[in-house]
């Protein structure tokens, strides 16, 4: 499975991505690579197109130009079967969880296992319960998403993203709105899964603490230049950047008063 990949080959490669909605261009010339087993963080102010970039990576949006490779294969030119196969190797946690409201947490996590593996129901239930235990939701198997708190929904969504033990996991703001203890727990979970299973994580986050704790490398997107304004280890970005935007971000400084905050 994952063994078959050349470990030097990037898991995700984005090449001169240009994207937009209607007449608005959101990204122009965005290129980066994510290596296997890396925890890669995407930063940027609101409106800089982080979530749109994530949707491009999983093929929900078509790029205007530029190419995106997952495991060296291009999503937009892949056949339907190939595409489904590539997407199965990616686990996604959407910003708001996107759990299925009519299903219990256990059923939410079991669903991909039921569809894509030949495991027996008892085995699937056990795997799903273990995933929920990983994110600290033991005992909540029979709850529906509407019956649990927002933080628990996020954690359940992470459990669902991990259901098939994917090679790449995309997390859109996994710790936003969580208490520091839970948030640190998620950081630890990410690190542990990377270390034991070699999962590659692409994480969108704003939490500075979390960025320092987990990120191997980070890119920062910017709304005005529609591209990447900084790339590197977060500590280096903080200490050695010339870009005022990046400095502001890492030092948590507001825009100058009187200047519009766009």
């Amino acid at each position: 499975m994952r063994k078959t990949f050349d470990s030097a080959q990037p898991v995700v490669q984005v090449d001169a991505l240009r994207s937009g909605m209607g007449a608005t261009i959101i990204h122009d010339g965005v290129s980066f690579e994510v290596k296997r087993g890396e925890i890669f963080v995407i930063l940027g102010g609101s409106g800089s197109g982080k979530s749109v970039l994530m949707r491009h990576l999983i093929g929900l949006h078509e790029p205007l130009s530029g190419r995106i490779f997952i495991h060296g294969r291009e999503l937009s030119t892949a056949s339907a079967a190939e595409r489904a196969e590539i997407l199965r190797s990616i686990g996604v946690m959407f910003q708001l969880g996107a759990l299925f409201g009519s299903m219990t947490l256990l059923e939410n996590v079991s669903l991909p296992l039921e569809v894509h593996t030949g495991m027996r129901p008892q085995a699937i239930e056990l795997v799903a319960r273990m995933k929920l235990a990983l994110v600290g939701l033991s005992g909540f198997e029979d709850y529906k998403p509407a019956q649990i708190s927002g933080g628990m929904v996020k954690r359940a969504a992470i459990a669902r993203a991990l259901a098939l033990d994917p090679a790449v996991v995309l997390l859109d703001e996994p710790s936003a709105g969580l208490d520091p203890i839970t948030s640190a727990g998620i950081d630890r979970l990410i690190l542990r899964l990377r270390d034991t299973l070699g999962i590659t994580f692409i994480v969108i986050t704003h939490e500075l603490e979390s960025i320092y704790a987990i990120a191997d490398r980070a890119i920062m997107l910017d709304k005005e230049s529609k591209g990447i304004v900084a790339e590197g280890k977060p500590q280096e970005l903080r200490d050695h950047t010339d870009n005022p935007k990046v400095r502001q971000f890492f030092n948590r400084q507001a825009d100058e008063e009187g200047i519009s905050a766009t």
Binding site: M1, R2, K3, T4, F5, D6, Q9, P10, Q13, D15, R67, F69, H71, G72, R73, E74, E82, E85, I86, R88, S89, F100, G101, S102, L113, H116, T117, G118, M119, R120, A123, L126, V127, R129, M130, K131, A133, L134, S138, E141, D142, K144, P145, A146, Q147, L162, L164, D165, A167, R192, D195, T196, L197
Partner: protein
């Protein structure tokens, strides 16, 4: 870009995983144990474990080169069923630490959460209490909506007319094609079916009486109301239900805006005004459809029209119109009520829309029955 298509279709293909028997009650796992490959050895391994029930059971993982959490689940299950008798040997430290995170004892069979069976009295009791709660809610809603409507009539400037007009457009204008289609077909079908029979008596001209009376008194208002129940009651319930699910209703309340006044009144006004207009339209189109059929039976439109005028009294038309006012109020009201009663989650919105249509249909039929009795006694 030289790396395109380098790897073939191996992303999720089940890689080689073998379960080898090394000795009695001693097995070796070779290859990659993952969520796809684990299914193949799950049963054989536990079958072997059952056969070794009296002895310790060994699984050697030295040749295992990959193991994900589904593989860990296999070991957890083995440790849970065999306790100390199961020995998992030579598991790579990384996987061992993953395995150590799980306490097998915690993954026993879950307490069955299925509800205990209720006896008949309990079922009746629950049904009764739910029915009473529903009735209470409905009466409360009727009161609230009535007060809000009255308030709006007292102070029309307090209503958001822009909303009301937009809703009226959606309920009324956009429903014209479907209402026209159904009404025309009804007129045509009624006229045709009755004309075929009446021709045997040379009484084709009385088709005008039949079509005119049944359309204006009953079918025009009723069909329009049924169409609106499917179209607008469901739309109201789904829209308000989604707002409820998204906490928008709570947001309105905290801003000091009464959801009934803000959401329900414009919709009820739109229903109240548009249903009679659509009914008049349906009546006219239906009569026209009947007239077209009459042409086939060699009765000119003028003759048909004159016969209509003698057959139909203004009371028939206005009787139908009064009904359609009530239908409009019921459809909009029950649509909004079901929307406000929405529970949590996407499924709840669907349930609300369904309940809105069903309730609206029931109310329409009941109201129509009441009108029939009322008109009979009033000699309308």
């Amino acid at each position: 870009m030289s790396l395109a298509m380098r790897t073939s279709k191996t992303v999720n293909a089940p890689p080689a995983l073998r379960l080898e028997k090394a000795a009695d009650c001693r097995f070796r796992l070779c290859g990659s144990l993952n969520v796809y490959s684990v299914a193949g050895i799950w049963e054989p391994l536990f079958e072997a474990s059952r056969q070794c029930a009296a002895q310790p059971f060994f699984v050697d993982c030295e040749a295992l080169d990959y193991c994900d959490t589904a593989g860990i689940a296999l070991f957890v299950e083995l440790l849970r069923t065999r306790r100390e008798a199961a020995h998992i040997e030579n598991l790579a430290p990384a996987y061992q630490s993953l395995l150590n995170q799980f306490d097998p004892k915690e993954f026993g069979p879950r307490p069955n959460s299925a509800q205990t069976k209720l006896n008949l009295i309990e079922v009746l009791g629950r049904f009764g209490s739910r029915f009473a709660a529903g009735a209470r809610e409905q009466i409360g809603f009727i009161g609230e909506a009535g007060v809000a409507l009255g308030h709006t009539f007292g102070r029309p400037q307090a209503l958001r007319w822009r909303d009301a007009l937009a809703i009226a457009e959606e309920v009324g204008v956009n429903a014209l094609p479907i209402v026209a289609l159904i009404a025309c077909l009804m007129g045509v079908i009624m006229a045709f079916q009755s004309a075929v029979a009446m021709r045997q008596f040379g009484a084709e001209i009385f088709v005008a009486n039949l079509v005119g009376l049944s359309l204006l008194r009953e079918l025009g208002p009723l069909m329009t109301a049924i169409l609106l129940a499917g179209r607008s009651a469901a739309a109201f319930a789904a829209e308000i239900g989604t707002m409820k699910v998204n906490d928008e209703i709570s947001a309105l309340s905290t801003m000091g805006l009464d959801p009934v006044r803000f959401l329900v009144v414009p919709r009820m006004l739109a229903g109240l005004l548009m249903t009679p207009l659509l009914t008049i339209f349906a009546d006219l189109i239906g009569l026209l459809g009947g007239g077209l059929v009459m042409l086939l039976f060699n009765i000119p439109l003028v003759t048909y029209f004159n016969q209509l005028l003698t057959a139909v009294q203004p009371g028939d038309f206005f009787g139908g119109l009064v009904k359609s006012f009530v239908f409009g109020l019921l459809i909009a009201g029950v649509g909004c009520l079901r929307g406000l009663q929405t529970g949590q989650g996407a499924a709840a919105v669907g349930i609300s829309a369904t309940r809105a249509v069903v309730s609206a249909l029931v109310l329409i039929v009941v109201a129509d029955g009441i009108f029939a009795v009322l008109y009979y006694h009033l000699n309308v």
